[in-house]
Amino acid sequence: MNVIVPKTAAELNYGLSLPHRKMEDWRWTDLRQLIDRPYPPRQTVVAKGVEKLIKSSPFAKVASARMVFVNGHFAAEHSQLKNDELASKVKIEEPVIAMNAAFATDGARLRISGNADTPIELLFVSTDAAPRTIATRNVIEIEKEASVTVIETHMGEGAYLANCVTEISLGESAKLDRIKVELESGEAIHLSHTHVTLARNSVLNDFTLTSGAGVNRQNGTVEFQGQGIDAKVSGAFMLGGEQHADTRLVIDHQQPHCTSRELFKCVMDDHARGIFQGKVMVRKDAQKTDGKQSSHALLLSETAEFDAKPELEIFADDVVCGHGATSGDLNHDHLFYLMSRGIPEAEAKSLLIAAFVGEAFDVVAHEGIKEALVKFSRKWLTQHRRAG
């Protein structure tokens, strides 16, 4: 693929192009405030410690065909798959996509036909001392009746801005199980936009784990372009320290007889801040839509914060739609019951937190991947477990 280099100096002028809190969708994530320095595009490929990062992927032990991107460039030497040639199609005016269009250097291009038994892991690693923008653009086309599991893993070291736009299209009766894990470096900023279009009778099972990066903003759009589509979009936040994560999801029902389910489980510790903005749109023609969305936050400290902004925009009259959001701390009765059986408080809390977040993993069908997620959540908990 061609390397896209920003054409004008103005494109480097972050201060002017960044979204800010006066924009409705960005009211919680003011990038003008959060991005305190310019992140020029990366010019060179510096690749130190790549092997180590690859090995530290939670899915290192899951049998998969891998495509590795190092600092925004495809690294054939670490990959088992070749990169395809596919053109980007998405034309939306959106700040993350605009930034991506200016800076993207490479990305995964996948066309899937038939049933791919082995999951494909797209691994994006960033390694460099200097603050840089690393932008990737992925295009994934799943042909009619094809099915595949795609893992997207984001990891890195140091301070950088990762911008990842992924365009996915599912053909008729195609099936995609997608698992994204965002485990960027704590000093990093992760911005992403995932745009999914679904054709008639296709099935999408989507899961995102958000646990890395100091600042995270993820946009998702799912367009239901045919009838009989079944889409589940789930996510888990596991955040601590001063982490900030903002997910904005738009479920766009355009055709009748489709089902959508969104479930987000967010565990927030320390001073972490989580935001879930979920919009379910049901257009005039999308009769018999069955759409439900819910977000639940578990606040492990009094200084953690969670905001939910659920929206329903319904223009059809024969639909079943709903949303719900809750936020609170651990259930004391549950805790007492476990302790009354001899389980010490810290361990009982860990069990309950793991159970809480684990509900979001249910959308993941692949046993090995699910196990890796459970393992990751346990590890996170031992690092963040508090007795008080």
């Binding site: 302790m339 010490p344 361990e347």
Partner: protein, 251 residues
Amino acid sequence: MLEIKNLHVKLADEDRVIINGLNLSVKVGEVHAIMGPNGSGKSTLSYVLSGREGYEVTEGSVTYRGEDLLAMAPDVRASKGVFLAFQYPIEIPGVATMQFLKVALNAQRKARGEKEMTTPDFMRYVKERAARLNISPDMLKRPVNVGFSGGEKKRAEILQMAVLEPALCVLDETDSGLDIDAMRVVADGVNGLRSPDRAMIVITHYQRLLDYIVPDFVHVLSQGRIVKSGDKALALELEANGYAEFAGEAA
């Protein structure tokens, strides 16, 4: 084994006294039945013994095997052998029953300085006990109590008891909600645990259970204190006459 002296308990956030000068002495090997009208404080007593929050002891003491029970956290009480079969067992979504049992048993063993049980040994150990209580392997895979019927929940409580092998078992209305066959199964389970180094406090409304689990003593709890004690004949008497006689006495 258990010595309750002049116990007074109020609700933590209200000025309401629930237990009002209760005395009870349970020796190892004994089975005590506690009966009494609704709202007399039976479950509250069981919660105070197991350490549930929301209650405040304003007077009196509870000594368990020579130690101050009230000073211990709930998990410490459990690892020292105190077990409560809840009147209303709590559902815990997302925690599989088998996993819960394993974590609980190993936590107790660890607290007592014993070796943890290996997974295969543990599986065998639980399955054997579950079979005796007519609990299917499928139920063990499900989250703790979630979607269990009333009777299944009670049987699951007894399974936990059989797995954890506590020294002091407090059963709070384990018989309510059980059909006749299930009651027999549960009673057999409880009787199987009766031993000279174990004591039991059986809270019930029905004399019927005491035909199966024959108590050494029967106490009547009314308005937060024990107003009458006797042997198993007292249960029969209560069945015939009700609690009218005690309502006046305690007031």
